[in-house]
């Protein structure tokens, strides 16, 4: 038990910070309730999915600057293809778009592995490529989304036979996110592939010597990130009902949330729960400051300061724990 606590102390710390922030929000805005939680979850969803993708690549020792651009490509592809389709057709589109995301990610990874150009350079280049691609597909926000998709992430959870009052407070957006984690990340984390992600991020040379195929593993990590980016793109289309060809501000937020979430930028350390909590923390801080009528420019300064302070305190605790 103590072991579990110390190993997950960072995540637990973030969780308590999040709860503290929720209470603060309720204090400064007594109206904050079910609908506030729902809109927070919906606004945070694309950020959270981008962060999941980023976290996987960073754990595997890389970085992907083209995540937001991949979200744009998948978002417009989904919105364009879904225009005028049936509900069943939309389901096929969803699957196709997920496959597309994984492919885009795999292209990033393959380029990095085969050209040996640093990941930061390759993905920066691909950022431009995917940006242009998105605009070629759809040169202005447009297209449409199947209504049942929107229903998946809007509102509170209602289950048959259970009184709505019990479950309604839980936003569907959060459930969607947790399901995503359970379906995509859990199997990877439990299999050897997950260990291999951590291994190549921790020490690629030692991993190579242990007989791990470092290149293919890296490509798999980027493909996983692409899959999460596709989910992020779909989330944008689902909540707005249209495709958005201009990448949103997801890239920098995802890096910030990954760092705040306890994933080491050098790779090999951290999990995916921490970064998700970090996304919600960053969104809540922004929301609270807006509610307090703080100048938006000062808001960004405060967000930056929080990141540095939290990560610094974390480092202090980490060194204390060791000695």
């Amino acid at each position: 038990m103590i072991r579990f606590l110390t190993q997950n102390s960072w995540t637990l710390g973030l969780a308590s910070l999040l709860i503290l922030l929720l209470i603060t929000t309720k204090l400064i805005q007594p109206d904050f309730g079910v609908s506030g939680l729902d809109s927070l979850a919906r606004a945070a969803l694309p950020y959270a999915l981008a962060t999941l993708g980023m976290a996987v690549v960073v754990i595997a020792g890389g970085i992907d600057l083209s995540l937001a651009a991949m979200m744009a490509v998948t978002s417009v592809t989904a919105a364009t293809l879904m225009q005028g389709t049936t509900d069943g057709g939309a389901a096929l589109v969803v699957l196709a778009v997920l496959a597309l995301g994984a492919t885009l990610g795999a292209i990033n990874g393959t380029l990095i592995v085969t050209t040996r150009v640093p990941d930061i350079v390759v993905t920066l280049a691909m950022l431009y490529v995917w940006q242009g691609t998105a605009l070629l597909i759809l040169n202005a926000p447009g297209g449409s989304a199947a209504p049942w998709l929107r229903a998946l992430i809007v509102g509170g959870v209602t289950l048959p036979y259970i009184p709505p009052a019990l479950t309604e407070w839980l936003p569907k957006g959060v459930v969607f996110l947790l399901l995503t984690l359970a379906i995509i990340w859990l199997p990877i984390r439990r299999s050897k592939l997950g260990l291999m992600f951590y291994a190549i991020g921790s020490d690629p040379l030692a991993a190579f010597r242990s007989g791990i195929a470092v290149g293919p593993t890296k490509i798999a990590a980027y493909a996983t990130a692409g899959l999460f980016a596709a989910l992020g793109g779909l989330a944008v289309t689902m909540s707005t009902g249209i495709g958005e060809p201009i990448p949103g501000p997801y890239l920098l937020t995802s890096v910030a949330a990954v760092v705040l979430g306890g994933v080491t930028l050098g790779g090999g350390r951290g999990g995916l729960i921490g970064p998700i909590l970090a996304v919600f923390i960053l969104r809540l801080v922004r929301m609270d400051l807006t509610l307090l009528n703080v100048d938006p420019n000062i808001t960004t300064i405060i967000e930056g300061a929080i990141m540095v302070v939290v990560v610094m305190f974390g480092a202090v605790f980490a060194t204390r724990g060791r000695s």
Binding site: M196, Y198, S202, D203, L205, F208, R209, S210, I212
Partner: protein, 492 residues
């Protein structure tokens, strides 16, 4: 013996060649290994040993030549294919993933945990937790885990690269025993080490590399050491450093009284005098790391006093130790060098790392001093551009050369000859002696007992965090040192 000769060799490498750009690392390397044999692969630094090992284990592809394993043509394309073919290496650097725990590392390599546990116990580590994070275990333990993991794979051919370099004496004995028994049970071993005693103890044959080619394949027999050294050096042997033991009458440079630090250094007192080389002998983990850390300002002592040139000192930062004239050459070269910068910059760094030298670097004076230091140490300058491309021995020379260029009062050497070849070792002994003759005081921790007589005037033996004996080099034969290091009273 006749039986092994009629059998086809289990591993047979012939005419292996490899070039890196303009540098030819190997041009005609060969090695034959029979079932149940242990072959020592030997060679001076830069002879191409590391490259040959990488080719044999599949980490590199040869430009020419042939490697046959169990009679089949085999050129491993990755360590994974080599493993599947039955050749399992234990590299010089640990190949466990630092951020994962032991159990995850086993899963990653498909190692059977039961067999692994068996070998870990067999090798003398009984308190290992499978949920311990690799990055927090000491280096010696990691080496043992690496070996246990390789043994658990039950390989036909085991390749051990400087397996014992970082191990304390008691674990070395266990490792040698286990390896020899493996060979007796029919496995074959390629054993790489610079320690003749180990090779004499367990190896059947020695294959000697020089300048990228195999120059000899000898049967191990008493007195073979000289022949091997001849072959490795190619006739151009520097005479063994004949240390003249001198009376150490210089004034006391560093005085240590009742020093205590951390959990392992409990009570150490001795004097280090000007002009002497004072050896330090201790088994792994007896407090020597803490002693050197305190002297170098990396760690504060819990109690006791440290007096340098008559002034009592409490260092809180390495810069203070350096200012007081105490200079540490750490055991891990990677901690001391800027691996991606040039030899020249690395040597010049201590010269310019002072505030009052801010501004333009005096190129001319720097260049002269650096060149002098390079000449002095005969550093191989083919790969001047980046220190990480030098061989281990040459890197070690750079770590010492930088302090010669600067001029040094008190030099703290922590196992400076670990894992480097005999010619470089001798250069380092001579260099240390010269520094002492010029008035430096040198504290010389070594994990090789034989070095005390070759390089030192006296030796301090530390056991269980205390000084148990101070022995003159003349009396410091290996059995005496060994007994003292194990905390046994010297026989009267």
């Amino acid at each position: 013996m006749t039986q092994t000769l009629t059998q086809a060799p289990i591993l047979d490498a012939k005419g292996v060649a490899k070039r890196f750009g303009a540098v030819t690392a190997l041009h005609d390397a060969s090695l034959t290994l029979h079932k149940g044999q242990i072959v020592a692969l030997m060679g001076a630094n830069g002879a191409g040993k590391s490259t040959f090992v990488k080719i044999l284990t599949g980490a590199l592809r040869p430009d020419a030549g042939q490697v046959r394993l169990q009679g089949r043509d085999f050129t491993a394309t990755s360590p994974a294919t080599a493993r599947r073919a039955g050749l399992v290496p234990v590299y010089q650097e640990p190949s466990l993933i630092p951020d994962l725990d032991v159990a995850d590392n086993l899963r990653l390599g498909n190692t059977d945990p039961v067999k692994f546990r068996h070998w870990v116990n067999e090798l003398g580590i009984t308190d290992l937790r499978l949920d311990a994070t690799i990055g927090r275990l000491p280096l010696a333990t990691l080496r043992i885990l690496d070996l246990a993991r390789a043994l658990a794979a039950e390989p036909d051919v085991l390749l051990l690269d400087e397996m014992t370099a970082a191990l304390p004496t008691d674990l070395v004995a266990r490792v040698l025993q286990v390896v020899r028994r493996q060979a007796n049970e029919g496995r074959s071993v390629i054993y790489i080490s610079h320690r003749f005693t180990e090779i004499a103890a367990i190896c059947d044959r020695a294959t000697v590399l020089r300048d990228g080619a195999t120059v000899g394949d000898l049967q191990i027999e008493p007195g073979i050491e000289d022949r091997i050294v001849d072959l490795m050096l190619g006739g151009q042997i520097a005479p063994a450093a004949t240390t003249t033991i001198r009376a150490t009458t210089g004034p006391t440079r560093v005085q240590i009284r009742n020093l205590k630090a951390g959990t392992r250094l409990t009570d150490v007192s001795f004097d280090l005098r000007q002009g002497e080389v004072l050896g330090v002998i201790a088994l792994e983990g007896q407090g020597q790391d803490e002693l050197f850390d305190v002297l170098a300002g990396n760690r504060r002592a819990a109690s006791g006093s440290l007096t340098v040139n008559g002034t009592e000192q409490t260092f809180t930062h390495p810069a203070q130790a350096i200012a007081a004239g105490l200079t540490l050459v750490p055991g891990d070269r990677a901690h001391a060098l800027l691996m991606t910068r040039s030899v020249r910059e690395n040597i010049a760094l201590p010269l310019i790392a002072r505030f009052r030298n801010w501004g333009a670097i005096q190129m001319h004076s720097e260049a002269t001093r650096v060149t002098a230091a390079i000449d002095r140490l005969q550093i191989d300058t083919r790969a001047m551009g980046e220190v990480r491309r030098l061989s281990g021995g040459n890197q070690q020379k750079v770590t010492i050369a930088r302090w010669i260029a600067k001029g040094v009062e008190t030099l703290l050497l922590f196992d400076p000859t670990r894992g480097i070849d005999i010619r470089t070792k001798r250069q380092i002994y001579a260099l240390v002696r010269d520094l002492a003759d010029q008035g430096a005081a040198v504290l010389f921790y070594t994990s090789e007992l034989a070095e005390i007589r070759l390089a030192c005037d006296r030796a301090v033996v530390i056991f269980n965090g205390r000084v148990v004996d101070i022995i003159d080099a003349a009396d410091a034969d290996e059995p005496t040192l060994m007994r003292a290091a194990y905390g046994l009273k010297a026989s009267a």
